[in-house]
Assembly symmetry: C2
Homo-oligomer: 157 residues x 2
DNA sequence: CCGAAATAGTTGCGTGTGCATCATTTTGCA
DNA sequence: TGCAAAATGATGCACACGCAACTATTTCGG
């Protein structure tokens, strides 16, 4: 009965998705609290700084940035505006395409990122340890550590 | 140099987290659009119905539900309120502990869930196929399919 | 047995996000 | 060359979320 086979494949995918979502939510929750408490940074804000700092020239266009953090254009606009107000980021128009806007992380932004990184890494490690104790999450946590390294990984979308 | 070893472990975890977050965001985005468009359900709303429908007696206490969907108590209150207004859910006080509130999926709710499930499963499959074409996400997608099945998995936190 | 502490759930408030829309600039087709 | 279509980013708006504060109920110590 092919339908049965198909159903069970769908159920396996749904099961994998539930596990992924549960692990993601727990980690994000832990990171959000820790980064907010100690550095006044949200996970999105940290991500933006991290992504930009990894780029050659420390800059990216808004559109690429949206893709990298998987956020809408409008959310990205305001996220960048917040970070710019705090001096962690700088915006300037694209010389060759005047529709485009470059966002570049400043020296202050890179410094803030490096200050926040230990907090980020420690609470990530702690969240993973806690997740590993839950039988339904442990397998995914383990496989996560075994994932092959992406060498480039910096470029967006 | 032990610090170097520690750094590289932290970087490996961060890399795994970035991959997990990227895959999660893409899948959630796809599910959100599809469920919203075809069934006026958010991913959270679908999750609540799905979790409850999987319980014996189709009910759970608010607190357990918050844990299962990894949302704050206040968010859960309003999420449940929305679904109750649509008749997909029912609330009643815990007889033995009058602080507690049970939430139970109605027959309408289970019907709505079953109508939405194909949409959910199809866009999940589609999102996974797209993700598999991205070299940095493909390994995680593959391992997700190999995750062992949790037999119980229904009970919340 | 009574009152303090803990627990469950709700509500006011501030804020971050997506959608629809808009202005500006570039691209492409005739 | 000229003008419609596409693309980029910003803004008005509605809304879901988390935090803090509140009420109601239960639990626990004296």
């Amino acid at each position: 009965m092919p339908v049965e086979i198909d159903d069970s494949a769908a159920e396996a995918r749904a099961q994998g998705w539930r596990t992924l979502a549960a692990l993601h939510a727990r980690i994000e929750d832990a990171l959000e609290r820790a980064l907010q408490r100690e550095h006044r940074l949200s996970v999105s804000e940290y991500s933006v700084l991290d992504v930009l700092a990894r780029q050659d020239g420390f800059h990216l266009r808004m559109n690429q940035l949206s893709g990298a953090v998987v956020l809408s254009r409008s959310a990205t606009t305001r996220l960048v505006a917040r970070l710019e107000e705090r001096g962690l980021l700088q915006r300037y128009l694209c010389p060759d395409d005047r529709r485009g806007v470059y966002t570049e992380v400043t020296a202050d932004g890179r410094a803030a990122l490096e200050r926040a990184r230990p907090t980020h890494d420690e609470s990530l490690a702690a969240a993973l340890r806690r997740a590993e104790e839950l039988p339904e999450l442990a397998p995914l946590v383990t496989t996560l550590a075994v994932l092959p390294r992406a060498e480039g990984e910096g470029s967006a979308e």
